[in-house]
């Protein structure tokens, strides 16, 4: 059989940028589903079908595996997410539970195992305040857990607005506004209303499973990516907006203002919006990574344009499941793949 495919770095004339592999982190024995930076960007957590979580940190110029968290899950660990303070790590697993790890010194200790979902938990996310944790599952529900003063987790709400498998949850960067997306091709937003949480927006537009979503740094835009091979940008229109977009019940409306397609040939599994500069990156089942930048246009709010500034075909030997910008270092990003590797990439200005 043919060996590993030759790495192809795609150069684009107009962009003058390229994505260069900085380091390959090997260790997981099966497909890696997710990578996540801690808020200060000093640690990287990854999780895998090998049922473990790996914590990577920098030693000198190199990233090395600092610890392997095992024995918390009996099946695939699907995703990991850090709390805003960086002290807690939540891991969602196909075994229907979510484990919460506490970082004390250099050690990680399993603090709690959250039960309640009927089957595979797909994703988790911490709210900006750190007191709420959201999880979602194939059981079609999104749960919000409240962290009590004594580090207990209590169920604050269960929302079953999705009609299918929920793939991803993500909190707004500054508000208690939650977003989820999934197999029913929709994106939903939730907020707390008097005594309970409720779905306040349903975003339709993708024609297949919405795999992932991410807010921009200020939280007035949302990027979503889908098995329909497209990336969509949604703009928030607040009540009383200058554009005259109708809102009801004093709730913002989110409208799709841009669809980026034609760059991935297979499902796009992840999207990340840099918090340091206005860059987006997507990763997909076509083994490639794409970086986009917004082009200056006259009406940037209502009809923005995004151009691809770098693409790496064959960035991994197999599907890329996860990609995320570093929160502390411009142009640094991490990716994870079915090939069992985590990779670090640097976005470079073309010479």
């Amino acid at each position: 059989m043919t060996g590993a495919r030759k790495l192809l770095v795609h150069h684009l004339k107009n962009s003058m940028q390229s994505l260069q592999e900085a380091q390959k982190l090997s260790g997981h024995t099966e497909r890696v589903w997710c990578v996540s930076w801690n808020p200060s960007g000093t640690l990287l957590a990854s999780c895998s079908s090998d049922k473990t979580i790996r914590i990577w940190g920098k030693e000198g110029e190199n990233w090395v595996c600092k610890s392997v968290l095992t024995d918390a899950h009996t099946r695939t660990v699907r995703s990991v997410s850090w709390s805003p303070c960086g002290q807690y790590l939540a891991a969602a697993s196909f075994d229907a539970t979510t484990s919460v790890w506490s970082r004390k010194g250099g050690e990680f200790e399993c603090l709690a195992t959250l039960e309640g979902h009927e089957n595979e938990v797909k994703s988790s996310s911490w709210a900006c305040t750190g007191s709420l944790l959201a999880t979602c599952s194939r059981d079609k529900s999104v749960w919000i857990w409240e962290v009590t003063a004594d580090e207990e987790f209590e169920c604050a709400s269960v929302m079953s607005t999705h009609t299918q498998d929920v793939k991803r949850v993500k909190w707004h960067p500054t508000k208690e506004l939650l977003a989820s997306c999934g197999y029913d091709d929709t994106v939903r937003l939730y907020r707390e209303e008097s005594d309970d949480w409720e779905c306040c927006n349903t975003l339709k537009g993708h024609s297949s499973t919405v795999w992932a979503l991410d807010f921009n740094q200020t939280g007035n835009r949302l990027a979503t990516c889908s098995a329909d091979c497209s990336l969509k940008i949604w703009q928030e229109y607040e009540p009383g907006n200058a554009e005259g977009v109708n809102t009801t019940d004093n709730i913002s409306v989110w409208k799709c203002v841009c669809t980026v397609s034609g760059f991935h040939e297979r499902p796009i599994y992840d999207v990340s919006w840099s918090t340091l500069e206005d860059l987006l990156v997507t990763a997909g089942g076509d083994d490639s990574l794409c970086v986009y930048r917004e082009v200056l246009t006259a009406d940037a709010k209502n009809s923005p344009k995004f151009e691809m500034v770098a693409r790496v075909r064959g960035a991994h030997a197999e599907d890329i499941n996860s990609v995320v910008w570093s929160p502390s270092e411009k142009g640094l990003l991490a990716s994870a793949s079915d090939d069992g590797d985590v990779k670090l990439w640097k976005l470079l200005q073309e010479a």
């Binding site: 009927e118 269960v158 409720e198």
Partner: protein, 524 residues
């Protein structure tokens, strides 16, 4: 949908009888019971328009990937035929001789739903095809036909028992008091041919008394049986179904064995009343009017089926919303309907007064048990309980204290999110309550899934719920322990408080439903 596409079916390999899997689509799915919900039943209401509940009533269910039920099939070997898919999606089998037979579709009963661990949701189409106002109409029409053909012995005694929450919902809709709504409903049903109309509040006396006694028994057994407390309320069928399917042996021992008011009413009607009327249980047709679809599932439980008479204690459950549909069909509005007194199960002709019990719209289980326990265990008479709101309005606790005695702690936990926290605390051995009044619906039974939704008209669903709760409360309360008629039934019918009869007729049991491990039915 493919049209008239034929595929050959070679029947030479088949044996006479084999079990294979077949499927049925469970039409419009709705969440049942403590299934997570976004906002208190509001989301549901929009999912099930009135039109949906009434139209598309097929007596079969169309196939899909969603629900798979193993069935036995009878195959005659040797025939060669084709199956044609018709425009409407039905199937016609064409034999070699050209004979066409329309194929029947697999039918799923409520019992199948109860026995299956596949999902904890139930299907609207299953519920409405097997227990609906149409079923009641069918029985009434048959009765009318028997009366015409001069065969009154075939006629069934038709009994309708109305729950106070459903009555309050109808009263709110037509801007009536609970009592007036009850009387107007009685007249409405009797004009349709119903013989007796009762109030299930009467049966609730027994549910409350039995729950109180059971609590004391469990409290006293705590030293020898760790699983005797916390006692968990049993009146909500959605919660029971969820517990049986999801938490099984872990949680079931904690659930009170006392029957719900609907099922106590079932025993009274099919046992006591039938005897009084000199009838067998199967010649009485018993309908209840409930605030909740899940009561249909409760009525279908094998525990409430008489093998001897091949009849259920409650034959048919219709919801408040379905009664509204009946009123529409009859061109009747409760506002201008005549009034008739409710019947008493003693059949003495004295009108049954309208009364309620203390506590909220879910039956007052916590209230009665707390007061009874304070009196029996603490020797204190408590008049007023202090409810402390916890995480949300649907999670509240009550502590009863007495000097020198360990405090008694009670809680109400309504809605899926609060049920979760109680269940998890019990699993982790961290539940400090002695009794929890668990109900699947947020806001409890007044807000049941079968209640009439606000139809706009400037009234929000929240306002409608408030009005239902106020109407529900606007009825004088009685102490179930002080009811002469209740005492009479215990003595006459059941042979005493702790008799075997009382145990058999007023208590029930729960069954863990094993997770299916047949790969052919696993959803992935």
């Amino acid at each position: 949908m493919p049209v008239n596409r034929s595929r050959n079916l070679n029947k030479q390999v088949s044996g006479p009888l084999r079990t294979i899997s077949s499927q049925a689509r469970l039409g419009q799915e709705r969440f049942r019971g403590p299934r997570p919900r976004s906002s208190p039943c509001l989301a549901m209401a929009s999912q099930f328009s009135g039109a949906l509940q009434l139209t598309d009533l097929d007596d079969f269910i169309t196939p899909s990937q969603e629900c798979i039920k193993p069935v036995q099939i009878d195959r005659t070997p040797g025939k060669v035929g084709k199956i044609r898919v018709e425009d409407d999606g039905s199937y016609t089998e064409i034999s070699q001789s050209g004979e066409e037979v329309k194929l029947k579709k697999a039918k799923i009963t409520l019992n199948d739903c109860l026995a299956c661990s596949g999902c904890i949701t139930s299907a609207e189409s299953v519920l409405i095809s097997q227990q609906s106002q149409d079923e009641l109409y069918r029985v009434l029409h048959e009765n009318a036909a028997h009366a015409e053909t001069g065969d009154p012995s075939q006629e069934k005694v038709v009994v309708v028992s109305v729950s106070p929450q459903a009555r309050a919902s109808l009263a709110a809709k037509f801007k009536l008091s609970s009592e007036t709504a009850g009387k107007k409903l009685t007249a409405f049903f009797k004009r349709l041919g119903v013989h007796y109309v009762f109030d299930t509040t009467f049966a609730r006396n027994f549910s409350l008394i039995e729950s109180c006694h059971e609590f004391i028994r469990r409290y006293q057994a705590l030293e020898t049986d760790k699983k005797s407390l916390p006692m968990l309320a049993s009146a909500c069928p959605g919660w029971i179904c969820y517990a049986e399917k999801t938490h099984g042996s872990y949680i079931l021992p904690y659930i009170s064995t006392s029957k719900s008011p609907q099922q106590v009413m079932g025993s009274i009607v099919k046992d006591y009343l039938a005897q009084r009327l000199g009838k067998t249980a199967d010649s009485v047709y018993h309908v209840t009017v409930m605030p909740c679809f899940d009561k249909k599932l409760e009525a279908s439980r094998a525990d409430f089926f008489s093998e001897v008479y091949q009849t259920r204690d409650v034959d048919c459950v219709i919801t408040s919303g379905e009664v509204e549909k009946m009123l529409e069909k009859e061109g009747s509005s409760l506002t201008d309907a005549e009034e008739m007194d409710l019947d008493s199960v003693f059949l003495h002709g004295t009108p049954e007064p309208t009364y309620s019990h203390r506590g909220g719209g879910s039956g007052g289980y916590l209230e009665h048990i707390a007061i009874h326990a304070a009196s029996v265990l603490h020797g204190h008479k408590v008049d007023d309980l202090q409810y402390k709101v916890l995480r949300n309005q649907d999670f509240q606790e009550v502590t009863v204290e007495a000097e020198g005695k360990p405090p008694l702690k009670f809680a109400i936990a309504y809605g899926f999110r609060n049920i979760q926290n109680i269940v998890q605390r019990i699993k982790r051995n961290k539940c400090t309550y002695h009794f929890v009044e668990i109900m699947a619906c947020p806001s409890g039974c007044s807000n049941g899934g079968g209640q009439i939704r606000s139809g706009g008209e400037g009234e929000s669903q929240k306002e409608r719920l408030q009005s239902v709760e106020e109407i529900y409360k606007g009825v004088p309360v009685v102490d179930p322990f002080q009811q002469r008629q209740v005492e009479e039934l215990y003595a006459q019918w059941l042979g005493g408080r702790d008799s075997d009869m009382a145990k058999r007729l007023l208590h029930t049991q729960y069954h863990e439903i094993e997770k299916s491990t047949s790969a052919l039915t696993i959803k992935w």
